[in-house]
Every structure is written in C-alpha cells, then in structure tokens.
Symmetry: C2
Subunit: 236 residues, 2 copies
C-alpha cells in the first residue's frame, strides 16, 4: 500500500452493501470513488458493524466528464419516474439536478414525496453502474423564479411543447447551436407543461426555447432525450 | 357520419381494451389509427363480445413522421429491457426494429424468449401514448450477416464501445454528418459487445463506426440515446 494514497472509511450505506450484499472480507479488492471525479482501486483492511476501512492501492483514470457543466431543472415527477430521471441524468453527465416545484405541479392533486437523500442514493448507484466518478449534486426542491434568479449559466435552454409559442421555439440544434458554453441550464417542465407566467419569466431571463420535435415523449424520458441531443451537439 | 370515411372494426386486442378496460359504450367518441400513418376520430357504432365497430367521423392530421426511415437492429435483451427498447424506439420514430441474435448473445447462458407478437403490442401501446400514427415493423429475429446482406440502407451506423477499434470509431455527429439519407440502419450490439467477426463484416459492408461517448450506458437506454442524437443531427 502506497503510504501517500492512505486509506478511507466507507459511508454507512456502502459499508452495509459491502458486508451484507457483496459479502466482502478483509483483503478483498474493491474500487472506490469520491463522487467528485476521482477513483481508486483498494483492498479491504477491516470490517466492523458500520465501518469498513479500505487501503487505497492505486488511482485509476476516471471516465472523462462532459465539457459543459449542465444543470437539469426538472418538474418533479412521481416516485419511480423521478428515480428514472435521476438515474439517467446521472448516466448522461448532468452536473446538478434541481427538482422544480412548478405552477402546474402545484395545481395537481397530489404532491409527490420529495426525498433528496433517496435521490442521492439513486445517483450514486447510477454513477457506479456507468463508471462515472462524479455524482451530480441533487439540490433541494426549488421554484423556477429562484433557479432563474441565480446567475452564472452560460446558456439556458427551456424545453417546451411543440404547440407552445411555436413561433419562438426552435429545435434543440438551433437553440444550442452557438459556441459551446462552460455551463448550461436545461429546464424541463412537468407533465402539465409550463404556465404562461413561467414562460414569460424564462423569456425575460434570456432563455432559449426549444422543442424536442413533434412527438409526445414520456415524461421520464425527456431529460435523456434532451441530454443526448446536447452531447451530440456539444461533444461528449 | 361521412359515408366516404366508412367504419372500421377494431382488432380483438383493442376491442377487449375498449369494452373491459375503458368500458366504452355505443356512441362514445374514440380516436383510431391504422398504424401506417393515418388517424381518425370516430364514434362507437356497436359492441359485441370480440367485435367493436367504429364509424369514422373525421381524419385528423397525424404527428409528422421522421425525415429518415431508420431501422434499428438491436442485440436481443432480457424481457423487460427489450420491452423498454421497443417502447422507446417506437416513441423516437423508428421505422422498423430488428432483434439481432449476435455472436456474444449466443455465447451467453440463457437465450431470451423472443416474442414478436408481444413486442408488437408494446409498440402499439407506445404509439398510442406518444400520438404517433405509425407502428414500427418488428421483424423476426435475424443475424447480423442476414441484416447486412439486405441492400437499400442509405447509411449504416454501427455503435461500438469507446474502447473497440477506437482509431476508427468517431462520434455520432461525425459518423452521421454527411447529407441526411432517406433510410438508415443503426446497429446496437448486445451487452457483451460485437464480436471481431461482426465488426469486420460491418466494416466491409461500409458501416460507419460510432461511439456514444466515454461513459457506459445502460443497455436498454442505448437506442434512446442514439435516436435522440440522430434526430438532433437530421432534424425531427
């Protein structure tokens, strides 16, 4: 063991998984990652009830991260649908995921349970499965005005229904065709679509409206389609 | 009822759904589509055990189909994963879906059940949900040599792992950047990847190798990512 690399203690979730699901033992080889872009091989040094210690043996080259830090703001969906969004946006390189409490969601009958800790676990599992060494930040639920009030996004793309304000909505390729930004915000509405006030607010904030074409997409697939299109344009 | 429009009899699946799930009655308004691009409003004329007759009232403009007829050849996946592929490829405008029995699949331990009729039902349900009036043809399982032996595809894009023959694999944007074809064949390997012989065969047939980037994608999501990228490039 390289003394410079040192050792790490697994989080309690991972410690439980290592002992009771994978049934690992002292000396077994593992891969660990810090969720911020670095990954190592290691060997289990000790296991106790909720603490597993790993001696790091070598750092390995992680999968390159995307060239654009994309924040995905997405109208909160029902349980399993939102899990799919978190899983697939993690796989497709989202830098951060912001669940949005939108106007048309608030008007619905039943507000989905919001669970940042659960979504974080879904993101960690997806990062592991896809070999991504970065786990996106999943922020607490916020509103569109609060998200738009933050500065610093190089480009904001708001996805709209083909029917909504069609005269100003362009294809994703047109909306994102300018020089590749360093950061971007992609806004995906709830199943009921954006309210007029939300569309106005985004337009005033300089958002580019884009449609993903004439067909209706299943809600939980929309972030996958949008991110796939953006990486085709921006390269990843 | 316009005499020119006439009436239609629903298929037994749809007749069952109309009576026992939707609990429709004579006089109720429905929308029907022929799976080949046309859609109508209609009114239920009569219901019997397995026969439901609908008087067509007006033809409605269907969602425009994609500008390229894309055939998706995809290594057969396990039950639910293959259902997801059929569902999402239908949503994303595939013209035809060809389940492929590839070399690495055949080497696996358990061959998935192949069920064209089941997949057709999944495709019909997806077309209904997405407002698409065309149901892709789902062909019987075939092999890569047989599929490649067919002529008539304007462009053939074979998706490969970033590690496989990296020197010849380009991004999807580069592989599909030439003038938009009328027809295309997109080849998506099984979870075990293509065999060397399959890669050679495709190369000799003029296929463009493309990667979808450095990350590992979940197998059932790969067709969605590929089609989303192609429509971003080709416009739909």
């Amino acid at each position: 063991v390289d003394a410079v690399l040192g050792s790490v203690t697994l989080s309690s979730d991972e410690a439980h998984h290592a002992q009771h699901v994978l049934r690992l033992d002292a000396g077994d080889e593992v891969r660990v990652f810090d969720g911020q872009g670095r990954e190592w091989t290691g060997r289990i040094a000790s296991l106790r009830r909720s603490a597993v210690s790993v001696d790091l043996t070598a750092e390995i080259a992680a999968v390159p991260e995307p060239p654009v830090r994309v924040t995905v703001g997405v109208g909160v969906l029902k349980g399993q649908q939102m899990d799919a969004v978190v899983r697939d946006a993690t796989m497709l390189g989202a830098w951060a995921i912001v669940p949005l409490e939108t106007a048309h969601l608030a008007a619905g009958k039943k507000r989905p349970r919001l669970s940042g800790e659960h979504w974080h676990r879904v993101a960690v599992a997806s990062a592991k499965q896809c070999g991504r060494a970065v786990v996106p930040v999943i922020e607490g639920p916020t509103t569109l005005p609060d998200l738009l009030a933050r500065s610093g996004f190089g480009v904001t793309v708001m996805l709209v229904e083909p029917s909504a304000r069609a005269s100003r909505a362009r294809s994703l390729a047109e909306a994102a065709a300018a020089a590749r930004p360093m950061t971007a915000l992609v806004l995906i509405g709830p199943e009921g679509g954006w309210s007029e006030a939300e569309l106005d607010l985004a337009a005033n904030g300089g958002a580019q409206f884009a449609t993903l074409g004439p067909r209706t997409l299943r809600a939980e697939t929309t972030p996958t389609v949008a991110l796939s299109g953006l990486w085709t344009l921006w390269g990843w």
